[in-house]
Symmetry: C2
Subunit: 501 residues, 2 copies
């Protein structure tokens, strides 16, 4: 493909994407394909000869697109949003198009520096304490990771390294290996699976402590766990607090957990993957009260901030904690020294290579402006509230827990079985996509406002789909139950007849 | 930005990139900026109001582009290539544009299945044993990781998990923690820094064993290390073999290392990040003799196979080794069961989320065809050979070690000091970018054919830059030395005069 064909294919691809989003409501949110549809359809071997761009594009639209779940359909209400926006797609295109790898400053100065700038911009917008910002005195700063999973693991590893350095400074004779196996990490049992996985991957015991009935990990629970573990010879090392749990969007009280972590020198990491984006609106910042106790803070700008996956924005109070944990020098990379103000970001992350991800964050922040981003958050919370009102008005449903941000959890009063059946039926029909969770031992359906395109009318479409399916289901259940009752009656009668014979 | 503005911005971005590559020779490979250039230039805060696309684009071309290192300039000869191609940029655009996250099959069937298909295609092209392929019986298969660093760490963690399961099956009473700290990983002292880092991150002692004079880790060295460690109560667990070391592109003999790993049940991971791409040409496959002993194999398709970073293609003989190490279930993800043939790739990697990366691999394989990809490899090796011939004809230089693939290492006979000076001077002038390494204790300059656009004439331009700088340097040194000699003579004469007084 030469540059002329690239111009043609590229512009056709841009038009395809514009059309795709203009017509996002035209197709089902879930694709109508069976497992293996594409594996069976495509050739078993790579083509020997080159194909022209029109053929490739045709195969893309014919084979790939029909098997794509529409994450940006207004009826996609599963998980949490994954960000996208036109500005972000172009930021990604330009970043990928330049094709640089930001392993050192010299490997692409703009790649490093734009990340510093955008992370300061976003950190300020979120109202983070200035200790987290590169533009303040001190050694704090932001870095873009690939995902919240990665951020949680990166900080766990940094916490482990920091704790062992501290203990060795107190007693140089300790055995590192035998000491490290005593380290314990803590989070709530409402944490995302990636938190548990970080303990698994980072070789640290991860204790998932019982959340309170509101889904929050409380200070007294953490304190008790610390005390018990210390009594058993273990060493509390790392705590992951959630601001917006995955299941029900609960907020752990940082002002309860923080002082305990501080007292015991445990690293406090805040996973605000989804809900953290809301802190760009001052009215939500009370939910991060106690943030000054945190050592690290992460939100997925690629969730609720209109930036394309992957762009997990993470800040630390002390960049040297990362550098100490991750720096392994080699001669072929020694073109600049590790510095905090113009960081060698390869020492702030697990892999060596890194993409020019800040460009898509930059294009989004410029294209929306701070005002546009705040409007986006507020509008989505408003739409969730509208949906909650619709559910509330139907007395077959219970909303539980209280809606938070763009998430509304609900269930049918009749019980788990029929709630599950409702979700299954809706999923099978592919018009709307939600997933389940559990709350206080009950099965709930999570409805999240995900798409940036969602309007009030779209929310009403979603509600109508749920309501209609519920009508059908309850009618069916009633008829079904009645027929079972009738059948049982008949059997009873027959039995009685038999007996009387 | 609405869809109309997206069409305009998107097409302007496509034209920008086409022009950028059409004119890639017009600018210096290294940018003329000082550390802090962008941090100081850009506003300290995010814009409050939205900016229109033309403003954003202007800021991009005015501020970002001038600070970008031209990784695809024909005079970029540093590190190893980072892949790009027009086909790949569009594959990336379409993948990002659809904005799906492939956490489960249902989260986007095409995202999972196209990865299965392309990884089978590429695995076959590379001539991998069929045990590594998803399309064969058994539980092997391929998965795209973000980087070779990540692949090395993923397999280290899987190796650790597999070893502890094996030991527990032999003796259920062993203490997991105390046993795991005895595990040892091995690689050569020529390994990429990411290998050492994987030991650090994965909490496993990593021993970097001395390579032979050719830079290869030999079987007897590994055997001796295993024996010594076992005698000391340690447990060999994981070996990273290099096919193409970063410094000098040396190939570890898998047929020597493999049987030893097999005997001791140690996991053998093959890091062929750069050079592995060459195995699509049968004439290079002798360099992976013994590959059948490997448990896992990784190449960066984003290095030498024209695919945009990130696309690190990794194959394992047994996908369950990954699933066992990484699977942590939660209710909101339980929509499909972990299977090998249609994998839940989130259990094959560290993070939960994943992008639609196979699309760019797919567009590249289709756009070039197997034939085109082989031509690319052969052409680049030919260009390196041409460069080597030019160096060889100049008796001021020594080529050492032997050129391999697209890499030619050389130094000035006069010694390390002047070789370093040559590299520094060239880097300062920004017209050509290479990095140094060490070989047999000597400082060498690594010249790698990186850009896909490189022609024979470009190689000659690069050589002329080196030759001219050498001429200047040697003339300067001679004059400089002569003046020093003259000065010393004068001092001597003065001293003699003094003495004779």
């Amino acid at each position: 493909m030469d540059s002329q064909q690239f111009r043609e294919f590229g512009k056709a691809a841009i038009d395809f994407l514009a059309d795709y989003y203009d017509n996002i409501r035209d197709r089902d949110v879930l694709p109508s394909v069976e497992p293996g549809y594409l594996i069976n359809k495509l050739p078993k071997e790579a083509p020997e000869q080159a194909e022209d761009w029109k053929t490739i594009f045709e195969h893309f639209t014919d084979s790939v697109v029909p098997g794509t779940t529409r994450w940006h359909s207004p009826q996609f209400h599963a998980y949490y949003p994954t960000g996208t926006s036109f500005a972000s797609i172009i930021g990604g295109l330009l970043g990928d198009g330049l094709g640089v790898v930001g392993i050192t400053w010299m490997a692409s100065p703009a790649c490093t520096e734009l990340e510093v700038v955008t992370m300061n911009w976003l950190g300020q917008l979120l109202g983070l304490p200035k200790e987290f910002l590169n533009c303040s005195p001190g050694s704090g700063g932001g870095v873009i990771q690939g995902s919240a999973s990665e951020a949680t693991l990166v900080c766990l590893l940094a916490a482990k390294d920091k704790m062992i350095r501290r203990l060795k400074s107190l007693n140089p004779d300790i055995d590192e290996d035998l000491t490290k196996i005593k380290f314990v990490a803590y989070s709530s049992d409402q944490s995302n699976s990636s938190v548990e996985k970080s303990g698994l991957l980072g070789s640290m015991k991860m204790k998932l402590l019982k959340a309170d009935p509101s889904g929050r990990l409380r200070g007294h629970t953490l304190q008790k766990a610390f005390e018990e573990d210390i009594a058993n010879g273990l060493i509390p090392c790392y705590v992951v607090a959630n601001l917006g749990t995955t299941g029900t969007c609960a907020f752990d009280p940082l002002d309860e957990l923080g002082p305990i972590c501080q007292k015991y020198n445990a690293w406090l990491h805040v996973d605000a993957a989804y809900a953290g984006a809301a802190f760009i609106c001052p009215e939500y910042r009370h939910l991060m009260k106690g943030i000054e106790y945190a050592d690290s803070f992460d939100i997925n700008a690629h969730k609720w901030l209109l930036v394309l996956f992957d762009c997990s924005t993470m800040w630390v109070k002390d960049g040297y904690d990362l550098i100490n944990a991750f720096d392994v020098q080699r001669i072929y990379l020694e073109d600049v020294k590790a510095e905090i103000k113009i960081p060698d970001y390869r020492h702030w992350q697990m892999p060596l290579g890194r993409r020019f991800r800040s460009l898509k964050l930059w294009t989004v922040m410029k294209s929306y402006g701070a005002e546009g981003l705040r409007n986006h958050i507020r509008s989505q919370v408003g739409l969730a509230q509208h949906f909650a009102n619709l559910v509330q008005a139907d007395d077959r449903f219970i909303i539980e827990p209280e809606p938070a941000m763009g998430l509304v959890c609900f269930r049918l009063i009749e019980g788990d079985k029929i709630t599950k059946k409702l979700l299954n039926n809706l999923t099978e029909k592919k018009k709307i996509f939600m997933v389940g969770a559990s709350c206080k031992g009950r099965f709930i359906i999570r409805m999240v406002i995900c798409s940036q395109f969602t309007t009030k009318e779209d929310v009403e479409v979603s509600w109508k789909l749920i309501k209609d399916e519920t009508d059908t289901l309850i009618t069916y259940e009633k008829v079904h139950m009645k027929s079972i009752t009738t059948m049982n009656e008949n059997i009873k009668n027959i039995n009685m007849c038999e007996k009387s014979k």
